[in-house]
């Protein structure tokens, strides 16, 4: 007879299992599983909801009110004017006018806009501030690793630790590049990431080591910072392309 695991029986008691009928039928026949299931149910009964003390709303409000700044209405968004009724006809006229001008052969001269800084034999638009395409990959790897660190229930596996080891050297070079480019905020975030990598790479894994890294090194906050760097990098790539 196949017995159900504790986890399956917990799911059953919490009404989170997919096959309730199968477990229910099994419990009627198997005293061993029935005992375990009853033990879980008893645990849940012991930790049943207790009454919660009512908060003092007036006192809380008085305390909170002192900290509330007066909010000012937001400035209308860039495209807010599109909601006005007269805008669409006006836009139609404005769009049609150049077409009409072209049809009737009217040509106007326009001042040439300044040309970007193209290299003589280059294939694409180069700028004076090139963006390293490898940085995007590095930030992606950082995001994946931190997501693993933030969500892993136990110690990190060998593959993740090897990834941390591999990222260490690259990260150091990106820290230096950010500093050289005057991007001190980016350098600080990558330095923080470097400390996390060093810790993962060097410290022995214990049942609580991942949890400790999360708490002590605020990897949740770091993940957010990395995502902001990714957005900044995407924007910079978009500008140069």
């Amino acid at each position: 007879m196949k017995h159900f695991s504790e986890e399956e029986l917990i799911a059953y008691q919490l009404r989170e299992c997919s096959d309730e009928a199968a477990i229910s039928g099994h419990l009627e026949r198997c005293s061993e599983c029935a005992d375990l299931s009853e033990s879980i149910a008893e645990t849940l009964r012991i930790f049943s909801p207790e009454p919660v003390p009512q908060p003092d709303l007036d006192r809380s409000w008085q305390r909170l009110r002192g900290n509330l700044t007066v909010l000012t209405p937001q400035r209308p968004g860039v495209f807010e004017f599109l909601r006005k009724p007269w805008v669409w006809p006006a836009l139609g006229v404005a769009t049609a006018a150049p077409v009409l001008l072209a049809v009737f052969g009217l040509q106007t001269r326009h001042a040439q806009p300044p040309k970007p800084n193209y290299a003589i034999n280059g294939h694409g638009p180069l700028t004076t501030e090139p963006v390293d395409p490898g940085l995007a990959n590095h930030l992606d790897s950082a995001e994946r690793l931190l997501t693993e660190v933030n969500n892993s229930p136990g110690p990190l596996d060998d593959v993740t630790r090897q990834q941390a080891h591999d990222l260490l050297l690259k990260n150091a070079s990106y820290v230096q590049s950010a500093r050289d480019n005057g991007d001190l905020a980016g350098a600080a975030v990558l330095e923080h990431f470097g400390r996390v990598l060093t810790t993962i790479d060097n410290e022995p894994q214990t049942p609580h080591s991942t949890w400790r890294v999360r708490l002590e090194m605020n990897t949740n906050g770091l993940l957010l910072d990395i995502r902001i760097l990714q957005q900044n990098d995407d924007h910079a790539q978009g500008v140069t392309q």
Partner: protein, 194 residues
């Protein structure tokens, strides 16, 4: 979201901070209750609830009103309460109030309010509360949060997972681990528990 809440938000955004009281009147009790489940004590629950309302106020200009304010503030409160629990566990000097027969300010111990008609009943209640508290202390903040919200507040797993910023499966696993740990904690002392 109903009309009164929308109007309150509009007034707050127009500079009337007293209009925020409408939202607080409606949701502060629920938010405090959820924070209490996560933090496990009244003082921290009120602190977390107030911080959540302050954060929500400051973020109100960016609040998209296509979702309910209650869902939004609950999510902020869960995160705030979890952060508070994590801060407390990092701060080794912090001693939360513990239950004892004789209250002592130096030891941070308090006596549980006595609603029992006889001394034996009072003793049993205190012992039970103490055992529950000890068992809950074995859980990680995530396990405690996921368990209390699922079992005591009956919040769906999907919402808990969103608040904890994990997958639904991870949230489920946290609940299962919590129940298993609690059962193990009670095993040696509770006669009926096998």
């Amino acid at each position: 979201m109903d009309k009164a809440e929308k109007e309150a938000i509009r007034d707050v955004l127009a500079g009337n901070r007293d209009a925020y009281r409408v939202l607080m009147d409606r949701h502060f009790s629920t938010v405090t209750r959820i924070a209490f489940r996560i933090t496990g004590n009244e003082a921290d629950a009120e602190e977390a609830a107030q911080e959540a309302f302050l954060r929500a106020y400051n973020k109100l200009p960016s609040f998209r009103q296509d979702s309910a304010f209650s869902t939004w503030i609950t999510r902020i409160a869960m995160n705030t309460a979890i952060n508070l629990v994590e801060r407390r566990s990092r701060d080794l000097s912090y001693q939360g109030p513990r239950i004892a027969d004789e209250p002592s300010p130096t030891d941070h111990t308090v006596r549980v309010a006595d609603n029992q008609p006889n001394p034996e009943g009072a003793l049993l209640t205190r012992e039970a509360a103490s055992l529950r508290q000890t068992a809950m202390a074995q859980l990680t903040p995530m396990e405690r949060t996921a368990f209390t919200l699922r079992h005591m507040e009956e919040i769906p797993m999907v919402e808990i997972a969103t608040a904890l910023n994990v997958t639904t499966n991870s949230a489920k696993q946290a609940v299962f681990r919590a129940v298993s740990k609690l059962r193990q904690s009670l095993m040696p002392i509770a006669g009926g528990i096998r």
